[in-house]
Subunit: 437 residues, 2 copies
Amino acid sequence: MSRQLSDPDPTQTLEAELTWTGERFEPDIRITVERSGRIADVTKISEADPAATRMAGKALLPGFVNAHSHAFQRGLRGRGESFPAGAGSFWSWREAMYELAGGLDPDRFHRLYVETFREMRRAGITTVGEFHYLHHANAGELDFRFDEAVLAAATEAGIRLVLLEAFYRSGAIGQPLAGAQRRFSTPDAESYWRQMDRLAPMLNDRQTLGAVAHSIRAADPGEVAELYAEARRRGLVFHMHIEEQRQEIADCIAEYGATPMALLNDRLDQFDGFTAVHCTHTESTEMSRFLAAGGSVCLCPLTEANLGDGIADIAAVHQAGGTLCLGSDSNARISMVEEMRWAEYVQRLAGEQRGVLRDESGSVARPLLAAATVAGAHSLGLDTGRIEPGHWADFIAIDLTCPTLAGWQPETLLTTLLLGTAEETIAATCVAGEWAG
Amino acid sequence: MSRQLSDPDPTQTLEAELTWTGERFEPDIRITVERSGRIADVTKISEADPAATRMAGKALLPGFVNAHSHAFQRGLRGRGESFPAGAGSFWSWREAMYELAGGLDPDRFHRLYVETFREMRRAGITTVGEFHYLHHANAGELDFRFDEAVLAAATEAGIRLVLLEAFYRSGAIGQPLAGAQRRFSTPDAESYWRQMDRLAPMLNDRQTLGAVAHSIRAADPGEVAELYAEARRRGLVFHMHIEEQRQEIADCIAEYGATPMALLNDRLDQFDGFTAVHCTHTESTEMSRFLAAGGSVCLCPLTEANLGDGIADIAAVHQAGGTLCLGSDSNARISMVEEMRWAEYVQRLAGEQRGVLRDESGSVARPLLAAATVAGAHSLGLDTGRIEPGHWADFIAIDLTCPTLAGWQPETLLTTLLLGTAEETIAATCVAGEWAG
């Protein structure tokens, strides 16, 4: 690059060798970024601007949007993976996670978040939706100290953040919080929204809030409906874990006579701004109702595989035209390209065919990139994920000389990136016009 | 490192911060490497040797053994992944692969192999079993020019090679070779063994030969049995593609009245040195017979997922105590750590449980590493994959300061590596005492 990208110019002008313009990589594209950190202009040029930052040997992609993360679970990497008593499950893993959650103090928590968010940026993630339920430093005391630590860590790491603040009242259906769960407590909707009001003035210009009901284990159907209604009244997106595990569905049927998704479909008549995370075992009719009413689905391929959740029928979500986004969830590994390829690969293995998540042109790479960019931005309610005027200047610079890309052509580059590489191709990332890496 | 590892000393002495000794990472281990490239000694030390090469901040692993590769298919990376006419299959992918195979000249082939073998070394692979069937530069002319190019490329890239020279007589059961397949031709066993005899004196001290029947499509059951018998007489390992695709099994039953694996079980009474590659759809009784008679299975998780082959019952192979090794096969992506984690993860998704490929202590990481090292070495008939006296000095140096490893402890390091990282942790690799990277 011919000059420092961090120069405090009122605007910056970028001319990369190739730029992703939504459908393809194109040469001769000039991007102008406003001082505000938004893209002012994206133009096809016939000659180079001598004042522009030339990014020779680089391709620009929109930054990845990680729509579902629990960053503190990065502290479990390499742990909870020994099974001396026989095969494990989500539930035995959850015990290890609770042990971590119960032992973190605010300082260690903050350091862990800074490290994890930095690791995300190195993996091309410029926006994270942090689904945050570890609110209190001591079990049973409502201090919300961890909430502020999340905001501070995101600022330090320079990542765009949607703090998806989780409502968490019960420890299971009809059960009080127990043990480490008491650190997750939001006793009622009133205290929940009071905390949201407390957080709002602390946000910087790269931070927004989203509302969350943790799951049908942590909130009853009436609470979910009320939280969602209030979230939409406030213009906030809404996220919820749905049907990741069969046990949760069985417990829900036993208590309410219906699956979690059926309960939601019966109570809510639209799902704008609603993201259902996982949907591993969601019955197809209920999935169709949810999608038709505007809901999004967030898949977390690496975590769902690590946890042995099962194989979601994502082929059906895709065929129904549903919005599919991606999350790094437990952060046992942070790699959006690996998430993308295995979203498709798991469907290939299950269906014994290739090209399951293809678009009408037959491309698999484009829908996968859309899941990691525009669909994530939609799920989080942000103007990011596209290199278009008015959107945030959130980019990834790909090093086209990287050996794992060798043999690329403009028309094969995206597929080569998503199926053939990992983080070694990511030379730098940019959030709101500020570069790092 | 305190001195150049490439110094032409008669021996070298290595002291890494941690060394994998077969069951765990241990500090204070000194490795002495003979001039021959073999390990002379592995000793627990009480004080540092001032003349040793100190590898501070590094952990030594045995180099990965890639037991099944078709390196030329690296040329397809990013290609054959568009499906304008609807979902694709192994067979439609094969057309794209034949197009590549039909168009390569020896020079381009050689360059592709050098690049691919170098990419393997950067991914920690110190040994490759190259299952090689593209023998001729022109369809129908038996020149075997590509065979020599494989040897030359491996020498250039400094990778240990087992040239698994493939016998390929028919294009499908009872069908002649057609189109690009004519470049694969070995018309009969006599010309096959003649070529093996021609290759033997061309090998360097890091190269050996193995025998191959490409598949039941390319060789009839009698030919397979004869090739295997002759291979064992010569002390060569034997590899064969088995039951990757349902169509191949159906065709085999139609012609011979039995599945490929059943035919082998009926004809051969032992399978020492025999590696069956894939076994995606192998029936469990036949699999048990094969394993009980000494056969190995080679799984290729990334390729089998990319090709939509289906989910092999590897849990059963593991429970039967079968030898399971790993291959990068089509090389659409080259990452042994991703191969390892998805070998386990696919089983977790299919079985909805965690820790499927665990050993008696409950570890998942140890059996996965064994698959990528000792089991691969067994499949290829080599003294590598272990850091033990008498074995080749084939190592990976892991950079312990890599951020994706942050939080490691000696007892969690292997799991962190295999489940949480990719190639960014690999600082250097060593083949027969010679370091690169």
